[in-house]
Structures are given as C-alpha cells and as structure tokens.
Symmetry: C3
Subunit: 449 residues, 3 copies
Amino acid sequence: MRVADLGRSVDLAEAGREMHALIEELYPLCRSITGAGLRTTLARLAEEVPLARHEVPTGTRVYDWTVPREWNVRDAWVKNARGERVIDFQRSNLHLVQYSVPLHRRMSLAELRPHLYTLPDRPAWIPHRTSYYEESWGFCLEHARLAELSEGEYEVCIDSTLTQGSLSYAECVLPGDTPGDVLLSCHVCHPSLCNDNLSGIALCAQLAKLLGGCARRFTYRVLFVPGTIGALAWLSRNEPDLAAIRHGLVVACVGDPGKPHYKRSRRGADVDRAVELVLRHTGEPYEIRPFSPYGYDERQYCSPGFDLPVGSLTRTPHGEFPEYHTSADDLSLVTPEALGASLGLYLEVLAVLEEDRRYRGTNPKGEPQLGRRGLYGALGGLPRRADAEMAMLWVLNLADGRHSLLDVAERAGLDFRIVREAATLLSDHGLLEEAAVDGPVDSPSRDRS
Amino acid sequence: MRVADLGRSVDLAEAGREMHALIEELYPLCRSITGAGLRTTLARLAEEVPLARHEVPTGTRVYDWTVPREWNVRDAWVKNARGERVIDFQRSNLHLVQYSVPLHRRMSLAELRPHLYTLPDRPAWIPHRTSYYEESWGFCLEHARLAELSEGEYEVCIDSTLTQGSLSYAECVLPGDTPGDVLLSCHVCHPSLCNDNLSGIALCAQLAKLLGGCARRFTYRVLFVPGTIGALAWLSRNEPDLAAIRHGLVVACVGDPGKPHYKRSRRGADVDRAVELVLRHTGEPYEIRPFSPYGYDERQYCSPGFDLPVGSLTRTPHGEFPEYHTSADDLSLVTPEALGASLGLYLEVLAVLEEDRRYRGTNPKGEPQLGRRGLYGALGGLPRRADAEMAMLWVLNLADGRHSLLDVAERAGLDFRIVREAATLLSDHGLLEEAAVDGPVDSPSRDRS
Amino acid sequence: MRVADLGRSVDLAEAGREMHALIEELYPLCRSITGAGLRTTLARLAEEVPLARHEVPTGTRVYDWTVPREWNVRDAWVKNARGERVIDFQRSNLHLVQYSVPLHRRMSLAELRPHLYTLPDRPAWIPHRTSYYEESWGFCLEHARLAELSEGEYEVCIDSTLTQGSLSYAECVLPGDTPGDVLLSCHVCHPSLCNDNLSGIALCAQLAKLLGGCARRFTYRVLFVPGTIGALAWLSRNEPDLAAIRHGLVVACVGDPGKPHYKRSRRGADVDRAVELVLRHTGEPYEIRPFSPYGYDERQYCSPGFDLPVGSLTRTPHGEFPEYHTSADDLSLVTPEALGASLGLYLEVLAVLEEDRRYRGTNPKGEPQLGRRGLYGALGGLPRRADAEMAMLWVLNLADGRHSLLDVAERAGLDFRIVREAATLLSDHGLLEEAAVDGPVDSPSRDRS
C-alpha cells in the first residue's frame, strides 16, 4: 500500500473512535513542558508507534532559551477553615497554575486572592494558566466557586518539586524511498485539555501508525514535543537535517466540530497549495489564513533562521473556540467524527505531496491520439468531455517538465486524485515520462492564464 | 490602405450579407476530414482568395497520428418494409455517422437500433456524430422519427467508400512588410453545420480577401484545415516557420447572436491582451475564458511542443449553444449581423496587433511643450482634458522604449485607436521615435500601478 | 526631536490656524508663473523658512521649454460708455486672463465678447484662465454680469508688461544625517486661489518650518515653483542630484474639507506604500488613485526621463471640486481643520519614511525568549496577544535583513508606529541589529502569503 492509498482504505469512523479512545486514556495525566505526566504520555504513545524518546537535561541552552527545571506535582489544594478542600488538584489538574513553586502555609483570602485565576464570563469553567519561566504560584478555579469563598483563613498546599531533571520529547522517524522529509509536529505539554493538545497527539499517533504500514516516498518525522522549548530542542538537535524538510504541518485542534482552517507557511510552499487544493475539493466550508507569528510551533519552524515550509491545518484555531484553555476543552468537545474527518484531510494532503510529479510528454507536438489507445470515447461530436478525459488533456498539455501535477490540478480546477489517475494512465501508455528532478524546481504556481 | 484602416472602411452589414451568402452556398456539401465535400469547399474558397491547396496522402504519419483513408459517400439510407426511405442521407448529410463503412443488408429494428443516434431532449433535431478512427457505421435521426419506427425488417444501405486517397487542406499566405506571422485558422471538416464550421470558414475567407488588398506589417497565414489531423498536418509541414508566429487566432462559432467569448492562449500572449482591450472598449457584454486544452485547434497550436501564442475568439463557445452539433445549427442560427459584428471585432484586433509599437520620447525629461506645436489647447486652466490629449500625455509618459502602445492603452484605460492616433501625431511632430525591436521584448503588462 | 516625533508634538489645530492665516495674507497677490506677485510671495515665505530664491532669465531653455517673458500688471479694466468699470482687475485678479498682452482701445461688445470667459453653469463665479505661451488677451467674469452688459462701446485697458525678466522659484534645503533626499513640491503660480495653490504653499512652509527644528535622517528639499516651467527649471538645474531622491510628494489642494486622495507614483515606490499605510490606519475614508500623466508637477517628476518616486497626496483632487479654478476657491473653501488634518497626514507619512529600517534578528533561530526580558506577559495560556506583542513577534519573524518595517506593518496589518516601537524595544534589548543598506534594496512588497 502506498501513502496515497490510505485515504481510501482507512475506515475514518473507526479511526476516529480509536483516536477518541486514546484521548480518553491520556486525558487525566498532568502534562507540562517537563515532568512525569509528559513522560507517561510519551511512553503510552510508544506502545502505538516506534518512538525515539529523548531527554534534554535542565539547564541545556537551546538557542535563546534554557531548558527549565523539571516540574512534578504530587498534590495541591486549598483548604478552608473547616479543613475542606475548596480547591483540589486531585479533581482537576487545571486547578494548579503550571510550574507553581512548592508552598505550604496559611493565609487570609485577601492574601490568597491575587493568586487565584478565574473566568468571570464563564463562571463554571476552570482556566488553564502557566508560569514556566517566572517563579510563581497560583490556582485556577471556577468563578462561581471563588464567589462562594468566605473571608477567613485558608491553608494552601502545593506539593510540587522543581528539580534538575530533563525535558522529554519523542520522535517517530519513518524512512522513505527517496530524499526529502515531511515534518508532522504536535505539542504534548498541556494537561487535561482535549482539543488543544490531545487531538493533535492522537492524530499524529494515528498518522504515524498508518504511514508505518505503507511504502513511503518521503521520510516522515512525526514529533511529539513540548511547545516552544521542545520544538526548539528538536530543532537544535537536528539542524544539519533541516534542509531535507520539503513539507511540514503543525497538528493541533483537530477534534472539535468546527470547519477546517489552514494557516499558511511564512514563505509560501507547496504544502500550502496542497492543503488548499484538498480543502477546495471537499465541497465543505473551510478557511485559509495567512501566516502569522503567533500560534503553535510553526512560530519556531517558520522563524527567519529556519523558515521551513511548514503550515498548520486545524479545525477551529486556538483561541477562537470559547472552551480554549479551559476545563471545557474536555472529552465532550472532541468527537470521533471530527477526528476522523481531520485524519481524512491529512491523508488527502499527504497523498498530494507524495504523488506530485513533473512529467514530460513523449509526444509534445500536438495531442497524442488517445482514441487509438482506448483512452478516449471513440464516438466524436459529443459536446462535453468528462472530468477524467479533461484531466488527461490537461496533464498532456502541461507535461512540459515544468508544471507539476499540483499545478495541473490547480489550473484545471480538478481534484488531485483525478489528475493523478490521468497521469498514471497516460504514463502506462507511454505518453508521459517523469521529468528528472535535479534539486527543487520553482513551481510556476500563479501562471493560470 | 493599411490593415488598421479596414475597420473603418469596410461596410460590416454588407460584408455580413456576403458571408451569409457564402455559408448558404457551402451548406449542402458533405464535408468531412477527407473527401469530395471538403475538396469542393476548398475549391469554392479558392475563387474568393488566393489559396494553396494541399493533399496529404492516406497513411502519412503526422506526429502521433496517421492520415486516415479518404471517405466518400454516394448515398445512404434505411428503408422500411414498404421500401420507403425512413432515413435518407439525401435529405440531410447529418443522417449518416461520418466515416461509416460501406454496408448493404437487411436487419431487424432490434439489430439496427444500436446504430441509431438521437437526441431524446431535442426530438426534432438530428445529431452530428463521427467515427473517424474506429471502423463503425451508424445513422443519426430525429428522436421523434425513431419513435415512429415500427418493428420489422429494414434495408440498410451505406454507399460509401474508404480508400487510399488524401486529406485536403488549404492555406492563404499574404506576405507582410516586416518579419512576423499572424495565424488565422478555421476548421473545414463539418458537414451541414453553420455556426460550427461554416461561420469560421466564411469569416476567414472574408478576412483573407480584405487583408489581401492592404499593406500588411505582418505576414498572414489563413488556414482552412480539417480539425485536429488537418491542423497537425499543417504544423508538421511548417515546423521550421512556426517560430515566426507572433499572434494567432482560431476562428469558429462567429455567426450566432450570442455575445463574444475569448479563450486565452496557453502561455499568455499579446493577442490575448489585444482581444481583451478591443472587447472592453466595445461597451457590449463579452466574456474572457482561461485557456483549456479542450476545444478547437488551439489544442494543437497550444500543445506543449509548440505553445504558440494562439487564442480563440468566438461568439457562443462550442457546446454551449443548444444547436451545437445538431441539424439546428443551420442557416437560421447564423445571421449576417452577427457575422458582420464578428468581422468588426477581428478587424479591430488585427488593427491593434499591426499598429502596436514601442517608442522612445525625443524629450524624455519633462513633458514636451505640446501647446507650442498646436497639439494642446492653448488656453490654460480648464479642469479636464479630452481623451485625445490624455492619450498624448500617456503615450509620452510611457515612451521609454519599454512600454508598447498596447501597454499604454491598457494602463490609460483608453481605446487603442485613440492611443495610436496620439502616437502618430506625436511622431509626426518629432516627439517620438520608434524603439528598435531586436527580438521580442517582454511586455510589462501588469505594471499598472 | 526627531521627524517621527512631530506628529505627536505638533498642535494640529493651532498649526491649521497658522496656515490659514498665511493663506489669508497671500490671497490678494496676483501670482503667475513670473512676475512681482510671485516674487512677493516667495519673499513672504522666506520670512518663515530659510529659502534660497532663484531667478531664471527670460529665454533660458529648460528641456523642451523656454522661460517666457516676465508678466506684470498694474491695472486692467473694461469701462462702459458711462465710464464705469464693469470689469475691474482691482476687485479680483482673476478678472484678467493671465499673460494678457497690453492693450488700450475702444471696441463694441461684439468685438469684446470673444475675449470674455464665463461659467454659464456657475453664473456668480469668475473663472481662472491663462495664456502663458500664446500671445492673447482676455477677461474672465461672472456669467450673470456678462448677461447684464448692454450693447454699445466699451473701453478696454490692460496695463500689463511682458518684458525680458526672469522666472522666480525658491527652495528650502534641510540637510539630513544620512544620504537620501525627500522632495516636497508645491506650485506657486496661481493668483487668488486658495485650495489650488495657497493651501499647498502654506502646508509646505509649515512642513519646512517644522522639519527645520528636527534631527532629520533625510535631506528635505521643499520646492516652491511655478507649475511646469518652474518644476522643469528646478529639474534642469539639479539633474546631477536627482539620483539622491528617495521619496517625493507633490503638495496641492490640501485645505478643502474633502477626504484625502493619494495618486501613486508612475513607477511604484515606497512613498506610495507609506501613504497608503498611513491612510489605512486613520480609520477615515480615503481614496487611492493610480498614476496618470495629468495633474500637477508629478507630471514632470514622473516623466520617463526622470521617473522619480513621487506621488501626490491631496484632499479633493484638482478639477473635482466645483470651485476649482474659479473665484469660489476662496478663503472660505479652505479651513484650518482641513489644513491641520492634512499636516497630520504628511507628518505621519514622513515618520514612516524616516523610521523605516531593515533589521536582522540576533537570534534568528526560533523566537527569542521575550518573557525573560520582561517584554512579554509572564503568565502563559491567555488566548490573545495585544497589538504591541504581535508587533514584536512580527518584527522578529521578518527580521531577516530583507523586510523593512514598512513590509512588516503591511503584512501584519498593524499601524507603523506600533511596529516601529516594537522594533526599538527589541533593538534596545539587543534582539535586533540594523541591516546594512548598501544601495537600495528592492522591497518584497507583495509577498504577503
């Protein structure tokens, strides 16, 4: 099976259920940019796919950053005067501001209050807050619950550790038949949040599993990295190989029921065109966004010193669904259907990237006689040609060694698959030969006359 | 008289009637891609314009194709049990599928039926069908008539011949004063069909006649060729001269009352811009279409091995009027008015191509003083300048040896004629000199700031 | 104070009143392309700003033009049979067609009439007409007054002189700290017309005064020149220095209450982008126009032999307000508010041009850690970043030595000032260094992916 065949062979509904089940399993873990929850998550993923797990020691410089101390939490709570846990890490790991320093003391509500974070507009939800690089502590809670807290003394306990340890990340490398790498990257640093983090993790694991069973043109590098510092750590350890990256996608927020959104790469790349082509031909609503330097790890991959051809295909983008970074980004926000549909889109995009080729016609002067070869309706005079025949004519017309199949599909306004099938058919009949690719050829992507 | 003067000197109404009369005369002939009807058509055209007629023997290889046997028909019919001709080639040559092999035998309606073609949606019309490259036979008829055929035995007779002969095509070459050719091509292979074939033939003949009486900048090559195989035959016999082709248009469907449509060349060319400019300034509705590899012989001229600067200016495009490839594409579909209007458009386009020039101003620094030369209203202070004065200012402003008059007209939003007249006037006053053209200069067509 | 600080430090209301007062003072003078009124105007401006005044003798060739004789008028009138001045230059200098030759004789109304100019549609207004380069004479008057003139004899007197003299123009040169000139040019040749001429004069004087008190990156050349011939005279005397001009604006019609209009340069330039950016971020209506070779002295600066990067920022363009070139373009048409607002726009544009830079990030691989430097909210997890933080991310992302801050602002959709402030902040923290500019770098202005 080739990568391009996955789209048709995979049962997306079943795969969606599998991904949701994995999300459910990983949901309770208290992930952060370091620590036991992250490590356990990667260990669990290693059961699914061949995973090289890496540890980067605290204090390691990665470009302008330094790997922080490892953070672990045993427990954390705030007790009222009656000794009742009014805020309890055991109920939800979101209650604790990530990277809160250890603490155990009594204080008044007035003293505690500046350390409490709520969402006044969403009084039933717990926000997600972090303080990775500033020594601090705090609790997040439902605004409604805060309102109920009476004055008086509270006992505050954060049983956390900040130690010389390491940052964990993992990579699944699936070697391909020809030079060129495809980067798929998700962040793994968020605690009990489903769409923002677990959906991307599950989709990347699923992709890695499926790609592992295929003949691959490209090498796939599927990254499970803590946001920012993890991506930077991977970049710093893989600098010599970055030039091989032909296409890349940052995977996140792929489980909610919103329409697909694609954020282009900084520099403009074939992956942008491939995603847009696939989305256009779904017939469903979608949205294309220009690159912007805020978001997920495309910020790092597309920083000027790397400027990799990496975009990001999500459903509703970060910050644009109300549940974002709150306890409402839970198991009910992400659905097997949406996960399956996202998987389907990714598979279609990979099919385009894998199958894109440049050809030269063996009979470039005039059209070759398709009818004689049984490739064309024998009876003349009909007013219209079907898509399949138009695809053949387009492929032949642009088979000048300069236009790729992606160019053909864009200019012809046809689905990539039909163009690819036409090329295969014509190739099988000796009417096309693949154009030699000596280094990257600039795609004349905008020459639609 | 120069080519550019034709647009104003020709009586389009009269020319429209002439073209319609020629169509009427040629209408009954059974043209095909070979044979007597085609040959007679070319002979009739040779009475109108100096025509080199060519014969390409059966079996000649032209690129991926082979010239087929010559097809001729004496008669063809289907008789019912009572001996009545229920389908009769003598009534309409569309009744016979083109290139039907000879046949004479009795058969049941059931046996006959797979060989009968009708248009269920248009029960009163006979379709046009061909089988040039597949040995086959068939009849086309009105769907209403098919419904009337009773079961029983029929006598089927196709008195046709398929012999070692030749394919005929013709070319009218009108030499020009300077290097550079303009290609005008129409297909001549359709039987009794008016808009799709005869309108283009009549317009090409009219153009050749008119151009023959002019001083021409370019050499005109007006082709009357059977579709596909004829165009390929001409290409294969003229390969060394193709590099001289600067501009080209495929002429077809120019007689119906629909609005003009222009289909761009594959590569983008000045002819595209000239046609669009002319259409824009008619003030009438029109439509511009991108290139596509389906259509008339632009498919061959724009195949990747040639990629000639050839577009196609039609009225309603092939396949988009209901009468297309049916008996309803008859003498009533094409009108003298529409033919005349089409001629007018072609003459305007040729005027642009012939008159386009690049200039250099002799006073490029600042504006030259037009008033002193009587070229400009002497009285200052008026709020607006007339088009003619704006045209002078634009021509001078862009007279940098890099911009053509076509560029000027596009950027200024002015009719080409007024721009050309301004250039002539300025030239006559020594304010412009023609820029040397050493090989083609790329037109900075998109620099409208 | 730097040029970029002017926008915030200047009291635009006060400056608007100052400009209006200057206009009021200069209003009565009979300016023309030569003569005493022009000279007096320049002398008055020299009281405001350091002004080099130049005289170009009659007969001097400037490119295709020749400096005309100097024109001066002592008086001009038409008296009726009763000796009453029915047209009187003393009441309005618009009554006399500019450059009218001396004359004193009696004539019938019939004889006089061809020399009388009126506006039938605006019977109460006096038109403005000129005849600089054609020996002629005439009077302009209210159409209503013309209707009242009875038949009979009139005494016509034009007490003007046309002598070997000179054309006057003035220039204020304000040297800058680095190579590169900015051209600001207004025409000074119109008599009692406020928006068309005096508003531009007042704004240029104000700009020169303000710029004179600043630290300037660029050298400013503020020109007060008679239209066409004055601009050409300046060009001819400054040819060797024209290559230094980086940016230019023709200043006119900046006092009426209409919305701002910007006319682009011929060649497309950074000044076009700067003005459009500023206008976009005002949140007020505005209009961008393509270059056209009719208008003010941008016609000369943008002629093909110079092709300078000069656009024109006006309020209502010439010829588009009904008062244009009539006595209704008076002190009531221009307002202190509009003049102040125009000044504000010019200052913002100059701020962009002065502050535009290219940077290289000192940590181009990945994002630098802004939080550690206190440049970024310390608490993570928030859904949105403020404009100031987005500006920092954008500047860093495009700090590749290739993109200018103008590019950043355009691509980020942010106000230039916020981008500039972000760059300064990042620079102060050692995260950016200015990219060396060895000659002009082409701006990749259209690469918004």
